[in-house]
Symmetry: C2
Subunit: 84 residues, 2 copies
């Protein structure tokens, strides 16, 4: 993702990338409400792409971010989650 | 993710999960503006977790959703992206 969009993401900066991600979340919400599966799949991909762009800009790894969930819920440590 | 949260996600339904994802996007935006790296990493993980929950509810694969980006930009087919 960085090879494809990194040059534009860095020129745009974090605040503008946050705004784009918010826009994509809106498009995903709309696709889930009234779109077909192809549209939903496209919007999920776009949300992940912008999330990855933001993580690259912030110098963070999405793999590391997700690792908290590897052994069940990070809050109650159970799978399935037993949080109140 | 489905094993950890699937039972709650299904009980909640898609619209409520969209609302939770929107909330997490807000928390990520705040962490990127004024949080430290640990907080940002946690919020990235939460955004991915809720995105995965929604994909599970919609019966869609995030791997498939991301595959559009595998060979560069899905719009211009270039890496780096050359879209106008």
């Amino acid at each position: 993702m960085d090879q494809t969009y990194g040059h534009r993401d860095r020129a745009r900066g974090i605040p503008a990338n946050v705004a784009w991600l918010a826009e994509e979340i809106g498009e995903l919400a709309q696709a889930l409400r009234k779109g077909d599966q192809d549209q939903q799949l496209q919007e999920f991909g776009d949300v992940l792409a912008w999330t990855a762009s933001l993580a690259n800009l912030a110098g963070l790894s999405l793999e590391e971010a997700l690792s908290r969930y590897r052994n069940g819920c990070p809050r109650c440590s159970k799978r399935p989650c037993q949080c109140p």
